[in-house]
Assembly symmetry: C2
Homo-oligomer: 389 residues x 2
Amino acid sequence: MNDKPVYLDYAATTPLDPRVLEAMMPYLTEKFGNPNSIHTYGREARRAVDEAREKISQLLNCQPSEIVFTSGGTESDNLALRGVVEAYRQKGNHIITTAIEHHAVLHTCKALEEKGFEVTYLPVDEHGLVYPEQVAEAIREKTILVSVMHANNEIGTIEPIEDIVKAVKERRPDILIHTDAVQTVGHIPVDVQKLGVDLLSFSAHKFYGPKGIGGLFVRRGVKLVPQITGGGQERNRRSGTENVASILGAAKALEISIEEMPKEMTRLQKLRDDLIAEVLKRIPDSRLNGHPSQRLPHNANFSFRGIEGETLLLQLDMNGIAASSGSACSSGSLEPSHVLLALGLSYEWAIGSLRLTMGRFTTYEDILKVIELLPSIVEKLRALTGFTV
Amino acid sequence: MNDKPVYLDYAATTPLDPRVLEAMMPYLTEKFGNPNSIHTYGREARRAVDEAREKISQLLNCQPSEIVFTSGGTESDNLALRGVVEAYRQKGNHIITTAIEHHAVLHTCKALEEKGFEVTYLPVDEHGLVYPEQVAEAIREKTILVSVMHANNEIGTIEPIEDIVKAVKERRPDILIHTDAVQTVGHIPVDVQKLGVDLLSFSAHKFYGPKGIGGLFVRRGVKLVPQITGGGQERNRRSGTENVASILGAAKALEISIEEMPKEMTRLQKLRDDLIAEVLKRIPDSRLNGHPSQRLPHNANFSFRGIEGETLLLQLDMNGIAASSGSACSSGSLEPSHVLLALGLSYEWAIGSLRLTMGRFTTYEDILKVIELLPSIVEKLRALTGFTV
């Protein structure tokens, strides 16, 4: 990364860990079989897929048969929502979610509304928190599914999923609960039994695995109408030739991430806290978005009044810092983040956001560089637009 | 592949070409950005995706905006069928396809029947050919989509898509035509303008690219309801972070395949013809399945009376030959192939099938090995079950 900017956009995607690539290499070269073939090459590929599934299920604390591999987090969210509501349509047509979900959930809910489903979009508090009691109160007779993300991709707020599940299941054990855990799996402890959810989405490229591979935990007994049909792979829940090398890469990546998690969480939390403290101290008219403590260890999200986020990003990039204004999936749009608006931020604050997300290869020097450069860049941009603090 | 069997199952999957892996490597290491990020890393990834799309569109003779990347052939088929019928449902509910399609099409048609669509499954002749006039005659007022594969994955028969398109469009230019070209792209010339189709599916791991990546050509003006919604990637037709390295790999793989196609087609055709001639000569009560001449240059599909396909495969595998009895996606099932039954084969002939598909790394020695070993293996198995010719 010599002449390249310091990378502080780990929430958008992470580099593939060299140890993961090394584990994948045999399956990108001589072990190329299709796991559905019954000959030597096929059986060797099948074994790799089986072992990867076994490993991932152990790490998430579920059964191998409860893991469905997909092409990534977005497909997992789609399979969870579309698959469940199609299977349980006879039972009801109401879905509960939140205003701050990833677009993979929000836009899918919009698509389902066009098919006759009704969706409640719960508001969040100023830190982005959803309250369990609020979810329970939104339950209707026709409610079949609740989908609340484990941690928000923009502001890093960690939702009280365990308590939400309890509050919902206490009233209505039959309602299924999905969580988009794309931002948490591999970053903070995720145990599907402890969380109590029925479905959970994850994506390998968010935890140093390859792009194009993800998975969905589907609790035994939960019905799911497949959204991609064909050869009947993944126990008839998702057809298509298994992406062997990437499935193996996902398992290896998750194993490493969980192994290093205790040490890494502490290290990143320290970097994050120093960064937050210094930025808020050095830059007037700035604020931290998201929960002050109940947030991802590697996420800092700021707003600077009088600043336009995209302009700030380009200035940072030219000064050797790669960051984001929110979700990578929405960049290019000049709309303020739906997440920040849901927190109650005014348009003025919402458009001036900066997300800095750290990771495995972030050093203290990287953070020092931001602390050193950011205040003057913000000052310069404010001067250009005539903004006075 | 030293101590490994000779691989003759290229139709199931192909090894990743080392030149393709080499092209992918920078994007599996330092160039890891999310194409949706606006910083240096993101722009670098975006450029790679754009260039790959450009290259593939040139090779298939269409516009870059007409290519949608997916996770593979099965997803492409699903997006084509589900996406089109959902978009044109107001217009009609009838689909025409054939009895010998891949399960990605057949099972999707079955799923659509449950949603109120009507499907005509056209029969084929004894060589697996669909007749253009037959397709045209199946048209009803409510017909919105025709889906006929470009070449069959089991028997290698190449369908007269160009003539089918003409026959259909002559009567009803508004009917959309999809072809599953998973077995042809990279193997025989495929030009979407010449074929005249509106949608065409392809999969990279069938032409020496990585698994987990494919695409769908969607002619400009064709409406498609996205089946995976979220961040709005692929011009809102297929959401999810782009699988950068694999997209680039798909483009490189297609480029190489098309470059080497003229020479390679001639070489494989010679191997195939010698193989077919020798097998039919040396093994009594044997037959070639599929069209004698209008077939994929690398496909040979036999039936041996009195033989059970899976038993034969295991014997071949132990003797150093990796082959298939039909589609990899159906192996493990003891049902005879739906394709062979559609040709009119009796159960007895249909269960005794063997598909040998050759490719880039197949040598004449490999074929000689089959010619030498296969007759005695078949003879031994027949003796075991008391079958007499």
